[in-house]
Symmetry: none
Subunit: 159 residues, 2 copies
DNA sequence: TAAAATAATGTATATTTTTGCAGTCCAATT
DNA sequence: AATTGGACTGCAAAAATATACATTATTTTA
């Protein structure tokens, strides 16, 4: 059937974009996207696509794509918009740390800078990490919202 | 105790040399080598060492070392002890600044990043200075301890 | 060094994942 | 049209893995 392939692709996308810790969790996401299946089927899917489960300091353990493991780089053929390069966003007191795929930090940082957001004083980018320095007086929530204009679905990347 | 480290090393070796499909299987091997432990402990060990489980055409799925998975990534297995490159460590409120020998900052920062410490949100490296951004909620002591797993004898570098 | 804080571990149990079996659907074959 | 064979899936049970709680060892602190 055709929908199986669709489903596999959707699974890959979800895994790529989020930290998923269990099949039930992934199942929920899929169902929200309109797919109908059971956890048993999902288990077989995961084996077919060869996703692995890996210890993660935050969520216990998470699913990862085989390709991700091997190359540790963003997937080809995904359009180059900042959101696709961003792995996670974490606030640490008055700072915000954005992790990207290796080597994409400066590109994403440029997007942020050139957006000239009032809430953001500046950024410093390494290879895969961007330090976002907010202006005084803005809450984490406000900063997140501002960054959201550059990075779509940023909430889903929040750790 | 010391035997925990021994055990971890043995686990790595076994996983590296064989295709292990379940914790019970691994448990057997360990017991034959003289280690005494239960499946519960093994489960925790596997999380600590960061072994992942991956689909395998032959055995269904097998355990793999984190490093094995990351082969192709940047910092790879450079035979360098980060500790030797670190000059000093200073805390400034919620930030931690690590000084290294000239040009070594990014290398050491990579080590820190790739350790995926739960206590650390991210790092940004210059030429000889690394800015370590802790996650919220951890004390300087906890951060130091976490960094200690990457940088041996870090206490001696504390300013 | 005694008290307090941490870390390690086992037991029992909960949670998660895999799988055997049976039923459905569809395309190819007779 | 009926039959056959394979792919796909759900259900329920088995297998594997993770964890809450309690206990003991270890390390720090005062």
């Amino acid at each position: 059937m055709n929908s199986k392939i669709d489903r596999h692709n959707q699974i890959k996308r979800i895994i790529l974009d989020n930290k998923i810790a269990s099949q039930d969790e992934l199942l929920d996401s899929l169902r929200k996207e309109g797919f109908e299946l059971t956890q048993a089927t999902l288990s077989r899917d995961l084996k077919e696509i060869r996703v692995g489960k890996l210890a993660d300091p935050l969520r216990g353990s998470i699913y990862v794509l085989h390709e991700q493991l091997k190359q540790n780089s963003r997937q080809a053929n995904v359009p180059l918009i900042p959101g696709n390069s961003v792995l996670s966003v974490v606030f640490s007191y008055h700072l915000c740390v954005v992790r990207t795929f290796p080597s994409f930090a400066s590109t994403v940082a440029n997007y942020i800078d050139s957006s000239q957001l009032a809430e953001i004083a500046g950024t410093v980018a390494g290879d895969d990490t961007i330090l976002v320095i907010p202006r005084e007086g803005y809450s984490q929530k406000e900063i997140l919202k501002a960054l959201g204009t550059v990075i779509p679905d940023i909430e889903t990347k929040l750790d």
